[in-house]
């Protein structure tokens, strides 16, 4: 299929743009030489020390973090839509975003630094707590029921949002700004330390999700349909929900809640590669990664030196696209 080389090249190109573009002009050639030198490859030549610092300590970790978070959101959205058999599901459906926001706001208001890990830890624990609560409350007669989960997700999401609003009213001016920026999502906190923690989670999780694409296909036939193909739907749903929580929780812990990537990517790619998860999952992983890296580059440069939260860009691109899909979609059954 021609789509995969296209997506792979697109991702590499977006990474190149993400590294080369910024307030300080550094040519792509020089960027490449700096990266090669950093890897111990190629003659160093005369490299500008400041440029080197900008590339290796700021832009490269940020672009790579963006790629991994985009990959996670794209995959998680596809998995959630597969579990709920509904193209309107997003990774945040079960309260991950509102839980993470409340956790992050709490950490900011209480000044928990914990050696720079306070914010990601608070967000991750908040999202995990939210999903576990939704999961417990959404069970019906010992089984996960999609309706029960969605309703519990809405209710607990409202509760956690109220908690966040409460914390905002308690916060000082600088705290308020920090919370609001966190809520809008951004990659400004990327660094190598976070990246080293995120990489194994993202790649390991992606491998597990890919291994389950066949099972996700069976789930498209519903509870009994899946069982008639030899797939236990209950076990599969539990495992996938846990996986999505871990993946999205880790992503949100670093970037805050970035919207629309997880909703739009699977939807758009399904139109191109079809609903078969063996193709759809790798395609959404690549596309989500490229989409977020490009959006972040725009966020950094549009109003430079002011940096926009990337969530604004993804919403500006994503929401109209989503509305377009909604309006132009086939009238019956396909939504």
């Amino acid at each position: 299929m021609v789509i995969f080389p296209t997506l792979a090249v697109g991702l590499l190109a977006s990474l190149a743009v993400g590294v080369a573009v910024g307030p300080v002009a550094i040519s792509p050639g020089e960027s490449l030489r700096i990266i090669l030198a950093q890897l111990g490859l190629g003659g160093v030549g005369a490299l500008d020390a400041a440029h080197r610092l900008i590339i290796t300590q700021i832009r490269l970790p940020r672009a790579l973090t963006g790629a991994l978070i985009g990959l996670i959101l794209g995959l998680s959205g596809t998995v959630m839509q597969g579990i709920f058999r509904n193209p309107l599901a997003s990774p945040y459906l079960l309260g991950i975003a509102s839980g993470a926001s409340a956790g992050a706001a709490l950490v900011i208001v209480l000044h928990w630094q914990l050696g720079g890990m306070g914010l990601p830890l608070g967000a991750f624990l908040g999202s995990t707590l939210a999903v576990i609560s939704v999961y417990r409350l959404g069970m019906r007669a010992g089984r996960t029921s999609p309706y029960g989960l969605i309703l519990a997700g809405i209710a607990l999401g409202a509760l956690f949002s109220a908690l966040t609003s409460f914390l905002i009213t308690l916060s000082s001016g600088t705290q308020l700004r920090e919370i609001v920026f966190w809520l809008m999502g951004g990659l400004g906190r990327s660094n190598w330390h976070y990246l080293r923690l995120l990489t194994p989670v993202a790649l390991g999780g992606a491998a597990l999700v890919f291994a389950l694409s066949r099972d996700l296909n069976a789930l498209a036939l519903g509870e009994t349909g899946a069982r008639h193909l030899g797939i236990e739907p209950e076990q599969l749903r539990r495992f996938l929900l846990a996986l999505v929580t871990l993946l999205t929780g880790a992503a949100v812990a670093i970037s805050g809640t970035i919207g629309f990537v997880g909703l739009i990517t699977p939807h758009a790619l399904r139109l191109i590669v079809g609903p078969d998860h063996r193709l759809l999952l790798p395609a959404t992983a690549l596309a989500g990664a490229a989409f977020l890296v490009l959006s972040d580059t725009l966020a950094r440069t549009l109003l430079s030196p002011v940096e926009l939260p990337v969530g604004i860009i993804t919403a500006f691109v994503g929401a109209p696209f989503f509305l377009y899909l909604l309006v132009s979609s086939r009238p019956e059954g396909s939504i």
Binding site: R214, L219, H228, L229, I231, P275, S334
Partner: protein, 266 residues
């Protein structure tokens, strides 16, 4: 005894409400057994017990001597396929993609698509007459064509036993006959089929044996001519019928008359 399916003193209850009581039933290889009975008599529940989707409260279902409840789900799905009354699909699959899902129980999680998978899908498409439609999306098909697609998916599983829950519901006359003719052809090639029917004439015409359920009990079992008598139908459905027969076939005609405001059986 060489039974494909054996059901032994099976009972089942939903929320304390007994739905099936002490069912004993054996189905031979290459036989089409029709399950008949009024709404709520337990046909669908019995099919779900056989397919392993529900577990018996008491008793057991055996497939070639092995208890269904103890078989691994994938092992069961390689030998037994089942079609629900209303099968829905999330997302817009093409006919071929959907039929290919029938190969899931035969393939490992990461194994590649093999020639035998391809030929099973081809055979299933061919025997259901769907080759022309293989690239079409399911949304574009008529109700009868969709039924055939799900049947093809079940055939791609290459099962020994096929369970059908009202395979002709919502189909027009032509599609009803077409689909059942197709199923009959599969039975002639050795497939065992258990199908729930509402239409007694179709059950009579296409099945080898008929099992009548009433309030969760098996009340009659035998050849269509032996089971579908006017007396049995009146006692189970509370409807008077006339049975017309000749050498080859017979027809069941309900005797209802219009009396005052209500249509009641005389």
């Amino acid at each position: 005894m060489n039974d494909n399916i054996a059901i032994e003193s099976l009972s089942f209850a939903y929320n304390g409400q007994r739905v099936l009581r002490d069912i004993d039933l054996e189905v031979k290889p290459g036989e089409l057994l029709a399950l008949i009975g009024p709404n709520g008599s337990g046909k669908t529940t019995l099919l779900r017990q056989i397919s392993g989707a529900l577990r018996p409260a008491r008793g057991a279902v055996y497939l070639d001597g092995q208890e269904v409840a103890r078989l691994k789900p994938a092992e069961l799905a390689r030998r037994l396929a089942a079609l629900e009354q209303e099968q829905s699909v999330g997302f817009d699959y093409t006919v071929r993609e959907l039929v290919s899902l029938g190969r899931i129980p035969h393939r490992g999680r990461l194994s590649r698509w093999r020639p035998e998978d391809e030929s099973a899908v081809e055979r299933a498409l061919k025997s259901t007459g769907l080759q022309e439609l293989a690239r079409r999306s399911l949304q574009q098909l008529s109700g009868g064509e969709r039924r055939r697609v799900f049947l093809a998916m079940a055939l791609a599983q290459e099962p020994q036993v096929l369970l059908l829950d009202e395979p002709t519901a919502h189909l027009d006359l032509k599609y009803q006959l077409e689909l059942l003719g197709l199923v009959r052809g599969l039975v002639a090639r050795g497939l065992t089929v258990i199908a729930a029917f509402h239409d007694l004439n179709l059950a009579a015409r296409y099945s080898d044996r008929v099992a009548a359920l009433s309030r969760g009990r098996l009340v009659a079992l035998g050849s269509p001519r032996d089971v579908l008598t006017a007396d049995l139908i009146e006692s189970v459905w509370e409807v008077q019928v006339q049975v017309l027969e000749d050498q080859e076939s017979f027809w069941i005609i309900p005797r209802a008359r219009y009396s005052g405001r209500l249509l009641v059986s005389s």
